[in-house]
């Protein structure tokens, strides 16, 4: 997957988790939880869906790296490039 495809994959997961929110204009550089109503339990759902849909394992210590879409792309690119 390309960076842009990874971004879309994460946004698709967020859209599913936060169906009342507009996710069409999320800023890649700003923390996701500052842009839409997303709490820590929702964040754990993102990790769960990456695990289920893409078999990506994210160790707990790395969770903070997924706070922004830029962070997601940086972190997931090497893990999802062959997906």
């Amino acid at each position: 997957m390309t960076r842009e495809e990874i971004r879309q994959a994460v946004v698709d997961i967020i859209e599913e988790l936060a169906p009342d929110e507009d996710v069409s204009n999320l800023d890649n550089a700003v923390r996701i939880r500052e842009q839409i109503e997303l709490d820590s339990m929702d964040f754990l759902d993102i990790i769960m869906e990456l695990r289920k849909q893409y078999s990506v394992q994210v160790p707990e210590d790395d969770y903070p790296k997924l706070g922004t879409l830029d962070g997601c792309m940086d972190y997931l690119e090497p893990l999802m490039k062959d997906k």
């Binding site: 988790l17 169906p19 009342d20 109503e37 339990m41 759902d45 769960m48 695990r51």
Partner: protein
């Protein structure tokens, strides 16, 4: 000192397999319309069930729906509908003085089964077990979801009392009002049971699950050929207030709660005890300072099981005898067994009788079981009755819990 307060029902919020508000529910009962359909359940395949089709988005955001449970969603719908019906404006109320008491037959089976199933799809890797499992399965979940949704800050909890739970939700609200712990109770019962395969399979293996080629005829209390329970989902929550509180704000009053009683068989895990049921009804009459001849309608609990229906008819006969002016009916014949919601939904189904003067009949009893024959049973045809004043509702449950509620037509 508690008895000086009169407690009244001022709002009704419900979803039943055949109606999503009291007007629709009553109309479908009077039209003899069953809400039982065929329903696919995991592992067992097609079963009969009462399925609700209320609009989940009416009072709940999509995210709340995703995060919560079916029992929570049913509770939220019913609580909002009841509060609206009662014309209560929560923004103008002290929300610390509102209590939410929801009766449930069971809670957590649906979520647990789903998680076990989900984890099995991933080679039982525990990493795939949802972190939402605990907040979804704690016993207070349905009542708690109501407080989250409606921003209510008073007490909330669930009352686990098998199929007597709906009545006991009402009793809890009633007692908390008498104790002056709250100004308004949102109380009653809910059921999400059709979403757990375990309950269907357990009833089937107990030889107590109904089957009939026509699902609408599967729930048939007192019929000679009845063969078990139809499991249903649903919910019915009332708003209760003291009469003083209700009159002060000019509220519409459906009925006054005048008596209740609860007891235990202490006899068997599943089999009912008619003698103890009779004592329960007598206890409620005494609690209400009434005589058997004061009661106009007895709404039976009868679930369409061979033994349970016989036991209850014997108990009702023992307490009330046979006399003109007594009408004994059954509401499960329309909606199946709504478990935790059964008590309040069935009470709600009868409440309009105070105004329309109609006692709804028991449907689907094509051939009366000789062991259930009773002159006062209302079968096949509704009955028009003048001046219905007292309604008695039975709700009994596993582990031998019996509950009876008596409500009275409101009079100043």
């Amino acid at each position: 000192m508690f008895n000086k307060k009169r407690i009244v029902i001022t709002g009704v919020g419900l979803t039943a397999p055949n109606g999503n508000n009291l007007e629709e529910f009553r109309k479908n009962i009077l039209d003899k319309k069953s809400g039982v359909v065929n329903f696919e359940t995991r592992h067992l395949g097609e079963v009969h069930a009462g399925v609700c089709n209320f609009d989940t988005s009416k009072h709940q955001k999509k995210k709340e729906l995703r995060r919560g449970t079916r029992a929570g969603s049913i509770s939220i719908y019913c609580a909002n509908e009841a509060v609206q019906d009662a014309n209560l404006d929560l923004s103008e109320m002290d929300t610390t003085r509102i209590g939410v008491y929801v009766g449930t037959t069971e809670h957590g089976n649906v979520e647990t089964e789903n998680e076990v199933h989900n984890m099995s799809l991933f080679d039982n890797d525990t990493k795939f077990w949802s972190h939402h499992h605990n907040p979804r399965t704690v016993s207070n979940n349905p009542a708690g979801e109501v407080t989250l949704n409606m921003k209510i800050h008073g007490p909330h909890y669930c009352i686990g009392a098998a199929c007597a739970a709906g009545n006991l939700g009402v009793v809890q609200g009633y007692q908390q009002l008498l104790l002056d712990e709250i100004d308004v109770a949102i109380c009653g019962g809910v059921s999400e049971v059709i979403h757990t395969f375990g309950i269907f399979i357990a009833f089937k293996n107990q030889t107590a699950l109904a089957h009939h080629e026509d699902p609408t005829k599967a729930s048939r209390p007192f019929d000679r050929d009845r063969n078990g329970i139809v499991c249903s989902e649903g919910g019915c929550l009332f708003t209760l207030e003291t009469l003083e509180h209700a009159e002060k704000r000019g509220a519409k009053i459906y009925a006054e709660i005048v008596g209740h009683f609860t007891n235990s068989d202490a006899k068997d895990f599943v089999l009912p005890d008619g003698d103890r049921q009779a004592l329960c009804m007598e206890g409620a009459l005494k609690n209400a300072s009434l005589q058997p001849e004061d009661i106009d309608i007895v709404n039976t609990h009868a679930t369409s099981t061979p033994m349970g229906d016989v036991q209850e008819i014997a108990a009702v006969k023992k307490v009330f005898g046979e006399r003109d002016g007594l009408y004994v009916n059954n509401t499960k014949s329309y909606i199946g067994h709504c478990m935790g919601a059964a008590g309040t939904l069935e009470l709600a189904g009868n409440l309009p009788s105070f105004d329309d003067g109609i006692v709804h009949c028991t449907i689907n009893c094509d051939n009366i079981d000789p062991n259930c024959e009773y002159k006062n049973l209302v079968l096949d045809e509704h009955v028009k009755v003048d001046n219905i004043k007292y309604l008695l509702c039975n709700s009994f449950g596993m582990l031998g819990i019996n509950s009876t509620l008596i409500v009275k037509k409101y009079e100043k």
